[in-house]
Amino acid sequence: MKKKTDFLPYALISPLIIFIVLLALTPAAFTTIAAFFKVQPLNPPTHFSGLENFRDILHNANVISSLGNTFIYIIIGVTLSTVLGIYFAVILQRRFVGRSILIAVLILPWALPGVVEGILWTGIWDANTGVLNSVLKSMHLITHYQVFLGQHKFLTILAIEVVQVWQITPLSTILILAVLQNIPDDLYEAATIDGSNGRKSFRYLTLPLIRPGIAIAVVQSIIATLNIFDQPYILNGAASTANSLAMETYAVSFQNLNFGQGYALSLLITLFTLFISVIVAKFIYKKVEY
């Protein structure tokens, strides 16, 4: 009963695999190898250096502070964007007048170019002329302008991460909404007949069924928060109060021109991303049958 090899699936995935091998795996292989070399154009020659790059970056005080900060970014960012993503998707689940417009409105934060986003939020948080200070003061909630960024670590990171959450929540929402659209109406009808209310049907029906969407959304926000760069760089400079791993990768590679160390740090970020993504996805991801 041995079957002949079925070529169709291979034919279907081959264009994808060609792209991945040539333009994702090849560059990645290059950096993985280079992570074990001393690649320092200012200090040639390039030679094999074993784990030296990894040792050096883990003794770099900026990298260490960015490691802790990035951890806080991930916790805040993943939680907020996922909760908001589920909430927004549930709101948009059913047909109602203006839903199409609302979806278009929803994606606006994502479509705003990074530079403009930076200027916008600098203008909101700014301690000297910021809008938030202005509004809070006119409502008599504060007596004088407050410093939101750069003074208190957690507040600074929170304020910066809100900006990123604002930008990535459209992605989480669309990912979850796509799966939500796949739940047949009759399931809800059945639930209503059983007498379960909105909250119950969300808890026992919606939530389990949208797990695949949530898994993708969570992994996407892990990747985004682990690579946060523009927002802290624009809003808080290179200060250790809120510097991120990605900023340090950039500084080590493009400012210090120590590419070997930069690649080593990138490799660590990749492994770290994979590690938590696999755990989280395993935890959330369950094949859904109905």
């Binding site: 070529f7 200012l42 000297n128 750069g150 290179a238 493009f254 400012q255």
Partner: protein, 439 residues
């Protein structure tokens, strides 16, 4: 058998889908911009294109077309590093910043300009050329002689009863205190304490005012002694925040942000290290300022009288991978011609004025400008340019970007109060010592 037919059939449909997709792709996308038959060079700078009339003149005289690409400064540095590391052509002529001279020189990412231009003859007319020379090679040619200056809002000073402008740093500090005491403005001084390049530059300028240098010729730190100018400058800056001369919110304000949202709005009375040109292009422009005709340049107050200003000129050079270095050199020669630079600065009307350009790097260009008297505060500035000094007279060290990173992160932390000035200086000194000894 049936299976096999199925496969070939489905493969066909895949092929069609893929072909349609790619056809859509390739049809519209393939053709890259091909160089026209006459020589075309690509110039990439962090500046808007030159006036079309001027570029047309160059093309008419030389037959060389110029394709101008504007990229913001930060991104341009990334592009230069990426292009050079990947050993790829990305431009025929591009930015050589004063702070990158050492790095670009040591890496041999740019062609030596002395091979293409008579740089010896140029040096006599171009005072800043020496700081663009590293290991005997000229890395780039300065085209805009900008430098740091002190700016003062005279109207606000006058309100505090100050009519005689300060000439020493002590007088300057006392005047700022008076402005604060009389409550003319709550915080009179703008220092951009955000952890970014502008903070480093501010410290260099202040160090110069206290009469000293940052590094010696070997790159060793000169600022670790509490009696040194660099140490005093750092202490003065941090103290200014602690004593309420600087707005507390400035902990996160970047250089241009402070100039635009504080100085230009009359919320502060002075910026010790401001950009030359800002009076004309920012403070006197009604659309961007509410202090029109109130701000003036001030000879930098020093330890015992007016002192030199810190030069931060922009330069242009030819990357090694340039496709057409000879044509690029011709362009650079024309671009840094005294008369043309005077035109860029506005000597011959708006059609020949280059937006955002400040000051010729050649004395002959300045002479033309002065004759025309077409620059705001031109006489003061011309005087300052004569005494403007390079931060690193021998050219910036190759490891400048890493050093500057240590400067701004540690000074920022000292201003935020998370470390003492002493600890910050020690940390910066340690980085300089480590880098200059080549690790």
């Amino acid at each position: 058998m049936q299976n096999a037919i199925k496969i070939s059939k489905s493969q066909k449909s895949i092929a069609i889908v893929v072909a349609v997709a790619s056809a859509f792709g390739f049809a519209s996308l393939a053709a890259p911009a091909k160089a026209a038959s006459p020589v075309t060079i690509s110039v990439v700078l962090a500046a808007p294109p030159l006036p079309p009339a001027m570029l047309a003149e160059f093309t008419k005289a030389t037959g060389i077309n110029v394709k101008w690409t504007q990229v913001d400064w930060d991104s341009l540095q990334t592009k230069i590093a990426a292009g050079s590391t990947a050993n790829t052509y990305y431009a025929d002529a591009t930015d050589v910043d004063w702070s990158r001279v050492g790095q670009l020189g040591k890496l041999n990412w740019f062609l030596p300009m002395e091979k293409y231009l008579d740089t010896k003859a140029l040096a006599t007319d171009m005072p800043q050329l020496s700081s663009f020379t590293k290991n005997g090679h000229v890395v780039g040619i300065p085209y805009d002689a900008s430098f740091m200056v002190t700016t003062v809002n005279k109207a606000l000073f006058a309100k505090a009863g100050i009519t005689k402008m300060p000439t020493t740093i002590d007088e300057y500090t006392a005047d700022l205190k008076a402005v604060k005491a009389k409550n003319v403005v709550q915080y009179p001084l703008n220092i951009p304490f955000a952890a970014a390049e502008g903070l480093s530059t501010y410290w260099y300028e202040t160090t110069g005012a206290f009469g000293g240098h940052i590094l010696d010729a070997a790159g060793k730190p000169l600022f670790t002694d509490p009696a040194s100018a660099g140490y005093k400058a750092a202490a003065w800056m941090v103290n200014a925040v602690k004593t309420g001369l600087v707005p507390p919110g400035n902990i996160n304000v970047a250089d241009s942000q402070g100039q635009q949202t504080l100085m230009a709005k009359g919320k502060v009375a002075s910026t010790f290290s401001d950009y030359s040109g800002n009076v004309g292009s920012l403070y006197d422009v009604a659309a961007s300022s509410s202090v029109v005709h109130q701000v003036q340049y001030l000879a930098t107050p020093g330890a015992s009288g007016p002192t030199s200003n810190l030069g931060n000129p922009d330069g242009i050079g030819i990357p090694v991978k340039a496709k057409n270095p000879a044509a690029a050199a011709k362009f650079i020669s024309w671009f840094t011609d005294g008369k043309n630079m005077a035109d860029f600065a506005g000597a011959n009307g708006t059609a020949r004025t280059w937006v955002g350009y400040f000051f010729p790097s050649r004395l002959s260009g300045i002479a033309i400008l002065n004759k025309k008297g077409s620059i705001i505060g031109g006489d003061v500035l011309a005087g300052m340019l004569k005494t403007s000094a390079a931060v690193f007279p021998q050219g910036a060290p190759a490891w400048y970007p890493e050093f500057s990173g240590a400067v701004y992160t540690n000074l920022h932390a000292a201003a935020a109060g998370t470390m003492t000035v002493d600890a910050a200086i020690k940390a910066i000194g340690a980085v300089a010592t480590k880098l200059s000894s080549g690790k």
